[in-house]
Symmetry: C2
Subunit: 412 residues, 2 copies
């Protein structure tokens, strides 16, 4: 088999994770092992927008010490974007721009690192390149804290966010139990349609200081049942910690957060969070004082608490993507297979992008308790291996040193 | 000098810190070295309330492995309370209850671990015991993330919170710069009257990814100037990260948060946060999208990111309190003296409680920039030594193991 010679184009898309840059590192390091076949690795500045605008990082311009800091750097070091490509049969404009850039830089290996939407972009590009007969291997590199990509057992990014949520929840509950009587604490956790991250807070409960109640988007949210739950816990313990997914929906399938936003015409532009709504509900109906805690951005950028398993797999999917592309695969995403749970072992495989793009996977019902306000042990078996191991952050003078890439030429 | 024989009573008061239990550890471990003089260490369950209600932990009942986990455990492991003792000349009720318990357990060494208000409690108890002629050594053990205790160079708890804020801010800004255009991010940080913690976010800026603007309670908050600042930064960078202290006050000395709460009669019980108000202001006047981030409880309970310097000093003030008491000192708080900055060295001294209680110390003006929206290098010189060094948390199965004390007898 004669190897396809040319250059690599790598990009990041969607929300950052604590290990997305570790996948970039995997792609780049593997590419560097194939000099002679690959001359240069380009990075899109702000995802596909960088490719459309000929706005690319050149990896050979970067300092090696910066690249070595990539795996521990949060955010999307190359810049990210949410941009939906049209179908090329409807509108070819973007694709023609992309082709110009692909040809200019002799791009023969294309990697897009993201979640469901990003796999859609990746799939469309693969289809277009096949359509015009431009030889280029296109591989999706999975990434999402939400853990909602299909086919793969789990997605890089989830394990570190889950580890952060489990540990931070334990700390918050230690704080909550410091007083003889505490407010009802409502902790809002990311996850619009799938509750994997919120569920991870059950690890804290399993370790002696976690939420009393957990509500997920997988279960229709019954306000009356919720109020009963909170009342029962608070009456018994004089405290109650609730973990709630931002994506919970009422019995009519309406988002709790959104529902309130439309009702409110007082100009409070930041209202509408789920925790806000539930706090108001508890206050009005039960009269208990409440405290809202939003994990917010920290849950997806807490690189100081990466799970070692997650970090290694994040580097792994990048490395594997490059290897598979060199072997001639295209139009696929790298997936993770769980080979064994105890001890945890995993391996990689690939699956066609068109069966992955835009599909969201939720927590199976059997992992959620009967009442729909907590998790079963089967979820713990699933999640524990993914939060194992710690990566000591490299502190310098008390703070972690991150990678800041040298900007593309046009900015100099 | 004949040593005073008797038992120890230790309590925690006010908001927890990431290292308050490390001070408890210091007191207990030092006490254990003086068997024969001290038979038992009692811990108040929920601060002074535990002493009033005869609701005490007995340290000899605890598992050694739990005690060894104390320094790394967040929250107030003994339980905390906010309770203001009356002046004994006005109302002796509480003091009579306390005396009963002191005599019942032969308490001859009393340690109260807290901030300004707690030092007031400590001082009142010392005065009362002298008044009734009950021999007991009373020592204040400093603790506050706010760093607003006078006389001492800084307070245990501040360094770890500052380290967490500096690092988490860097992570958040890495996330913020991931997109070509970002919302104006407003990060609300604890500190009602003093801005030390908010100022710590300047360390992030000094390291390449921190807030663009910082507002402290020390400087009257001028809304128009603020809007100009945000507009300037946003226009130039297409992003703007603002760190703001929860305690900023307008030009009339009115809290920004509180001011809005009184205006709002729509029943939104959780409104009134400073970040909420500033977000609304920016949205209305500048039309920029905003994102609010409250560090909330995490900043005071993130034990997984203790500063080593802070942890050692937290244990140190506990140890020193016990030593000083054994030497016969009473009515004082243990303070920290900064002997050298580079390399950082510190030592302990004591100062009368009555000059410490209820006094709050703010950031000196010369550490704040002229414009009042950032910090000067002199602040960095002050704060850097306090966030140095890391303590590797002891993870077990992916989560940190915390200390949960065996409850007092009455609960069994």
């Amino acid at each position: 088999m004669s190897l396809l010679k040319g250059n690599v184009l790598y990009g990041q898309s969607g929300g950052p994770t604590a290990v997305i840059n570790a996948s970039a590192y995997g792609v780049i390091k593997e590419a560097l092992l194939h000099r002679g076949i690959i001359d240069e690795v380009y990075g899109m500045h702000y995802g596909i927008q960088g490719a459309l605008n000929d706005d690319l990082y050149r990896m050979s311009d970067q300092l090696m010490q910066d690249l070595e800091k990539l795996p521990a750097t949060p955010g999307a070091a190359f810049g990210s974007i949410r941009y939906k490509l049209k179908n090329y049969k409807t509108d070819e404009t973007d694709y023609i721009k992309l082709m110009t850039v692909f040809k200019k830089y002799n791009i023969r290996y294309f990697f897009y690192n993201g979640g469901n939407d990003s796999m859609d972009t990746c799939n469309k590009i693969d289809e277009y390149l096949r359509h015009v007969g431009y030889e280029c291997k296109v591989i999706g590199v999975p990434k999402t804290i939400d853990n909602d990509l299909p086919i793969t057992d789990h997605s890089p990014g989830f394990g570190s966010a889950a580890k952060y949520i489990a540990n931070t929840m334990m700390e918050i509950v230690c704080d909550n139990i410091s007083y003889p009587k505490s407010k009802v604490a409502i902790v809002e956790i990311m996850g619009r349609h799938a509750g994997w991250l919120t569920a991870a807070s059950h690890v804290a409960t399993h370790n002696g200081s976690g939420p009393d109640l957990i509500y997920l988007p997988e279960i229709p949210f019954d306000k009356e049942k919720f109020l009963e739950d909170v009342k029962r816990v608070y009456t018994e313990k004089k405290r109650c910690v609730v973990a709630v997914s931002e994506g919970i929906q009422d019995l009519d399938g309406k988002f709790i957060g959104l529902a309130a936003q439309t009702q409110d015409s007082f100009g409070h532009n930041q209202l509408g969070g789920v925790a806000d709504q539930l706090a108001e509900l508890i206050h009005k109906r039960l009269g208990f004082s409440t405290r809202e805690i939003e994990f917010g951005l920290t849950q997806r950028c807490a690189a100081h608490m990466q799970s070692k398993v997650d970090l290694e797999e994040a580097i792994g999917v990048g490395t594997e993507a490059m290897k598979r592309a060199l072997k001639g695969e295209s139009g696929v995403m790298v997936c993770i297979r769980r080979d064994s749970n105890l001890p945890y072992k995993s391996s990689f495989f690939t699956h066609p992008l068109n069966e992955i793009a835009n599909v969201e996977v939720k927590i199976p019902r059997h992992m959620i308790n009967k009442e729909g306000n907590g998790l079963e042990d089967s979820f713990l078996n699933y999640v524990y291996p993914l939060i194992q191991g710690e990566v000591k952050p490299k502190y310098d003078q008390g703070v972690v040193g991150f990678c800041y890439l040298k900007l593309p030429k046009k900015y100099n």
